[in-house]
């Protein structure tokens, strides 16, 4: 069953001088979906989020939330609540006052507010901290107060602008799990902006990669991580093994690529490419097997030769840097040290045909 769209963005454009902060962005976010906008800093994802929230007016394009065009509505008239970057609490109010303030503005009876605040505090894990001031709370607790303050208004969409960026790494991981759980409990759409891919992968139902004001690609975390369609995505997700070449030959099941005169073969997963087209391919460093090259010049199609230039022990795995004959470098991660492969050895790298992913820009 297809879910209704909570948010529909069409042709969104926002410029600052000559710079496009948003360059023709289209995006649909479903009801009850945890959606993450992921991308490098200054790529436009915060601009996008703030446009949805009403803090920025786009130059053109339309923003529809729950079937209603909200282009001309101020933030408080939109069915959205925002969790701001950093610890954006009212410093002179205690936890209860911070959380209940939005309801107080709606002239709701005090005992109803108190009841809702208590419920919300239990939900986000602030039980017993009623009368603490923000400066008496830890970073994680402050973010929980922000979450509660936004969620208590029971809007249709929660916008989170880098909500975990001010927390340390371990706390961030814990908070990711909690955010996901919270989203499932309240059942509304969350739109979460981050530049941290681990954070994005762990919370998202769907991810959109945003860079240079443009939507690069969107998909589930698995799709984005395992089968990135664009080279940018692969690079942004930390892929080191990106080879650039052109299509040498292809048929329905295989593509043969020419990487600086080395021929490699990859599986053709319905890629839309033609002969002699320039392409880039990437492979995960853990998908490559490394072997000492005992018989030089054996040329299998799913292998490539190189020389080991660095071996680094990294705890859970060993990383080999291999220099190919065309001066490109490949990283290989192996869960254990490969016997008899030493520094400066000639090696042969093997992979499964499926492991290479082709990006057509």
């Amino acid at each position: 069953m297809k879910k209704n769209n909570a948010i529909e963005l069409k042709n969104l454009i926002k410029t600052y001088g000559d710079v496009y902060a948003l360059n023709d962005v289209d995006l649909n976010i479903s009801d009850g979906e945890y959606f993450v906008l992921l991308g490098p800093s200054g790529g436009g994802k915060t601009t996008l989020l703030r446009s949805i929230g009403g803090f920025i007016r786009p130059d053109s394009g339309s923003i529809v939330i729950k079937g209603k065009n909200v282009n001309n509505l101020p933030p408080d008239k939109r069915p959205t609540s925002m969790v701001f970057q950093g610890f954006a609490l009212f410093p002179h109010m205690d936890v209860v006052q911070n959380i209940g303030y939005g309801l107080k503005l709606q002239s709701i009876e005090k005992n109803i507010i108190d009841e809702k605040v208590n419920k919300m505090m239990d939900l986000v894990g602030l039980t017993g901290l009623h009368n603490r001031k923000p400066h008496e709370l830890s970073g994680g607790q402050q973010q929980r107060v922000q979450l509660a303050r936004a969620l208590i208004l029971e809007n249709d969409v929660l916008l989170l602008d880098e909500p975990l960026s001010a927390l340390d790494a371990q706390l961030r991981k814990d908070m990711c799990i909690e955010l996901k759980r919270l989203q499932k409990t309240v059942g509304i759409s969350f739109v979460h902006v981050t530049h941290n891919q681990e954070e994005a992968m762990s919370v998202a139902d769907r991810i959109a990669i945003i860079a240079d004001g443009k939507m690069i690609e969107e998909g589930t975390p698995q799709e984005i991580y395992n089968k990135p369609k664009k080279q940018f995505t692969a690079e942004f997700l930390g892929e080191k093994n990106i080879l650039i070449g052109k299509v040498h030959n292809l048929n329905k099941s295989k593509i043969i690529l020419d990487i600086n005169n080395d021929k490699i073969e990859i599986a053709n997963n319905n890629y839309n490419v033609s002969k002699n087209q320039g392409v880039s391919v990437s492979i995960k460093s853990e998908s490559i097997q490394i072997k000492k090259n005992v018989k030089p010049k054996t040329n299998e199609k799913n292998s490539i030769f190189g020389k080991v230039t660095e071996i680094t022990f990294l705890g859970q795995f060993v990383r080999y840097l291999v220099l190919l004959s065309n001066d490109q470098e490949i990283q290989v991660r192996s869960s254990e040290e490969v016997a008899n492969v030493k520094l400066n050895d000639q090696v042969i790298l093997n992979w499964k045909l499926d492991d290479f992913i082709l990006h057509n820009e």
């Binding site: 929230g53 009403g54 803090f55 101020p74 933030p75 008239k77 939005g102 503005l105 923000p134 936004a150």
Partner: protein
């Protein structure tokens, strides 16, 4: 601190119980000066100057605080400090001249009255603008308003911008914004500005000397007149009384509003 603050204060108290001689004073313990103060029109003058000062503080609050809020919220960030500098400009002119210049503005045939008459708003000129307590209050507001603006602006400047965004998201209206955000968050600045204006209002002799008339004598002027009359112990007594009154008021304020809490840094 001890030499320039505590010692003079102690000497003030000590000298206030000395005995007056023809041209100076000699060590003794007499409460004559205090008697002289409390059983004469001086007490009445002192109390009314406190009252007038309070009015100045309230007026400065209602004029100065909105100006500070306006600068914080409506003036571009880069221009804010330049606008604040404009309020320093009047201090380039000597205070005597600044206050004296108010005379032709406020007098019976001064600028304000002429304007009101020309606009047919009044039939005969107001004579309460100068040589009256009103004149002193106007003088105090004109002189001390910048201090209210400075101190509250500094407090407002420390309010992080996210507060305004959160308020926009929650839909906080202007009245609420003032009551729930600006007032509590700028409280330290308001407090500092108010104390400054109050203290100077009862302490600075210059303004009632130039703009005041009967019934608008403040503590500063009483002390000055005592010094001119070579009654040093009386001058000291007036200063001591002023000091203890202020301490008492601060203590009262502390008991009522818990100043420690009011002035604790927001973080």
């Amino acid at each position: 601190m001890i030499i320039f603050f505590v010692l003079p204060l102690l000497l003030t108290v000590v000298w206030s119980v000395f005995e007056r001689t023809m041209f100076w004073m000699e060590p003794a313990f007499t409460l004559f000066s205090y008697e002289n103060f409390f059983f004469s029109s001086r007490l009445e003058n002192f109390l009314s100057s406190m009252f007038h000062s309070s009015i100045s503080v309230v007026c400065a609050f209602f004029i100065g605080f909105p100006i500070a809020i306006f600068i914080r919220r409506r003036v571009r960030k880069v221009a804010q400090h330049r606008v604040m500098l404009l309020f320093i400009l009047p201090f380039m002119v000597s205070e005597i001249i600044r206050i004296f210049a108010l005379r032709p503005i406020l007098s019976r045939n001064g600028v304000v009255n002429s304007f009101l008459m020309d606009m047919n708003l009044i039939e005969s000129p107001f004579s309460i603008f100068v040589f009256t307590p009103t004149g002193v209050i106007i003088g105090e507001i004109v002189s001390f308003l910048p201090f209210m603006i400075f101190s509250t602006f500094l407090a407002l400047e420390a309010i992080p911008n996210y507060i305004f965004e959160v308020c926009a998201d929650l839909g906080v209206n202007r009245r609420r914004m003032f009551k729930d955000m600006f007032l509590p968050l700028a409280a330290p600045g308001l407090f500092a500005g108010s104390v400054f204006i109050f203290v100077n209002g009862i302490g600075i002799a210059l303004i009632p000397t130039i703009l005041g008339g009967p019934g608008s004598v403040n503590a500063g002027l009483i002390a000055t007149q005592a010094i001119i009359a070579l009654d040093f112990p009386l001058a000291m007594a007036v200063s001591a009384i002023m000091m203890f009154t202020l301490m008492g008021l601060l203590y009262l304020g502390h008991r009522l509003f818990n100043l420690t809490k009011l002035l604790e840094p927001i973080s």
